[in-house]
Amino acid sequence: MSVDFRKDIFAKERDDNLNEIGKPTRRQDILGHVTGRSPFFDDHRFDGLLHIKCVRSPHHHARIRAIDTTRAETMPGVVRIIRGSDVPVNLNTLLSLLDFGKDDEPVLAESKVAYMGEPVLAIVAQSEAQAHEAVAAVRIDYEVLPHVLDVEEAIKPGAAVVNETYPGNKFEFYGGNDHQKLRFGDVAPAFARADHIVEGRYQMAPIEQAPIEPNGAIAAPQTNDRYVCYTSTQGLFFSLGTVAKLLNVESNRLHFIGGTVGGGFGGKVDSLCEPLAILGAMLTGRAVRYVLDRAEEMQVSAPRSAELWYVKDGLAADGRIIARQLTGYFDSGAYTRLTGYGVVKCIGHLPGPYTIPNVHSDAYCVYTNRTPATAMRGFGVTAVDFAIERQMDKGARALGMDPFEFRLINAYRDGDMKAHRRLAGNCALIESIQAAAERVDYPLGAEFRAMTSMSGGGGERALIPPTRTERLGMLPAGTSTVEVKTTAPGLVPQFGVDLPVPATGLPAPSPTPTPVPAPKAPETRATTYDYGASGLSAPPAPKEVPPATEPAALTKSQPGPVTPKPRYSRYSSLGNRRR
């Protein structure tokens, strides 16, 4: 596929001494892929390998009254039946390792099931077929409970309590807040003076990542009192830490080998199989394989969460969006997994790539009796983008404007203040729209073809406006609220915090090509700790965020004229544009 490098765009700002970009290169692992020799987790053979299949809930929500395994225990090939009570620490939340959220999910349900397909027992047998037969022979007596599958129903008073850790069916963010807030300016007077009000309700379905290789793990005891685990995980150390906690073992007794992942897209960060495979190996002293079949992969491996959004825009007749209000509900399913974190990411993305002087947003992470949701590409951002871009089309129609031109008028320019109080830098929406329009011969007016991200921003647009908040009333211009109570730096910075973040930037491009070191096979004994491969917009490492002080409620930015100083994230793909 040919890639068209538009050297005319940002021509004055670009370095053309790039050594890799624009040059064809082979993947380092491609030889293994085309010869079928890349070692996926399931390509490791063990003598006397045992197999796990789980007994799963047939109900959305039910209390477990009794479990009868008498017949299953005596079935041919059955080696061990694992119950929730066999799991040393049978309650966890994925980001507990980073102090985000409360433990809310068992490996195997003990007292109740909260979604259809939730695992209750793990049967270890000599073959998969025998494990399946034993699964069918288990009898569980359930008391079916009322369930709730809709986010708006779930947060009504009297709704079924999905997740006892969060009785209101809402996740609690840092400081006990039941939602994430974004306040910038004051939407109410802006709506009052708007020429048009446009409203929309947008509902997105959950989406299964559907990698062709299903989630799975093979674990085996080693002779040094350790356990080796071959896994499909996207986050080797993350999964290791999760297992160490659940099984209450020192992490140096676990040796994870992975790195060859048959497609993940966010669907392989939840450590669904590793804990039971390793526990199985501990309990039987043999190698144990636990792989989801395709039906399980589709039904119980976590999808991207469904999202429901309400968007209200106030538009001026000249095409400017003067106010935007967004209310969103992420459907986390029965447990937290990564959805709460997705909401935080989402808030930092609002109100989309547009400079809007008044923004008001509330986003909730809601529990329902659906399959727990987790990460997926563009996690926290993709669904609300769908809502925002549909809303942009509606807005253009209301104004009788061209939808591209309407976007161009409102697009971020370099130096604009975003609603979450970071200055926009390296903006390229305008240029992207222009290039796309040109490609398909879409007629843009001359003034729109002449627009650029590099002018028209900053100045007035770099200021934080006086902002209305519920708790603190009207805040003066230039103020940010801080809603963080914790003193420990967490995984993610709270948006709205106005702290000096050092400009890191990309290292200066080296004039000569650096030799590429031979890739190491990722395994936890030999490689250094990382958060795993979960997307390109990794959160900054905690050390970049100075701890907030308690009870910081109000900070003021420097008095005097605001000189916008662009900050560059080292994750920005264009981070060296302005060097």
Binding site: R27, H33, G36, S38, P211, T260, G263, G264, V291, R294
Partner: protein, 160 residues
């Protein structure tokens, strides 16, 4: 006791003999009994093509093929494709970035090789048709189609 049945066939030109379980599928026999790990499990339902192999030159989905049906037949997998040198299709997949995670790749290349065996100069539609049993979640297909087309182009150039 599970009934095991002896089964003999040729795999990539070499005789193999195994004991297959009752109703065991060919994918399981190849991976667990013979040790050829190139065919992959993706769905076990005939829906994804990761397990694709050939029987007497025709592509089949080994996860839904009863192992006993290959008695005496010639089974081909990706493992049989390259000897001392890579197959031109493998080279083309490497150069054209036609694999990302690589999980669909064995089935994809088996499908493409079977096509070129029967029709060395397929057009684009015939290529698409030939890989339509194979799902790839990573590449978006276009690099795969182009890699196969590049081998066809070499074939044309060499054959004329």
């Amino acid at each position: 006791m599970m009934v095991k049945k002896p089964l003999e066939f040729r795999l990539n030109g070499t005789e193999v003999a195994v004991f297959a379980d009752e109703a065991e599928n060919l994918l399981s026999v190849l991976r667990a009994k013979v040790g050829d790990l190139t065919p992959k499990y993706g769905c076990g339902q005939g829906g994804c093509g990761a397990c694709m192999v050939t029987i007497d030159g025709r592509t089949v989905l080994s996860c839904i093929t009863l192992a006993e049906t290959v008695a005496g037949a010639d089974v081909g997998t990706l493992a049989g494709l390259s000897g001392e040198r890579l197959d031109p299709l493998q080279e083309a997949f490497m150069d054209g970035f036609a694999a990302q995670c690589g999980y669909c790749t064995p089935g994809m290349i088996v499908a493409a090789r079977a096509l070129l065996q029967h029709n060395p100069t397929p057009d684009r539609d015939q290529i698409i048709e030939a890989i339509s049993d194979n799902i790839c979640r990573c590449t978006g297909y276009e690099p795969i189609i182009e890699a196969i087309q590049s081998v066809v182009a070499q074939e044309r150039a060499g054959g004329s």
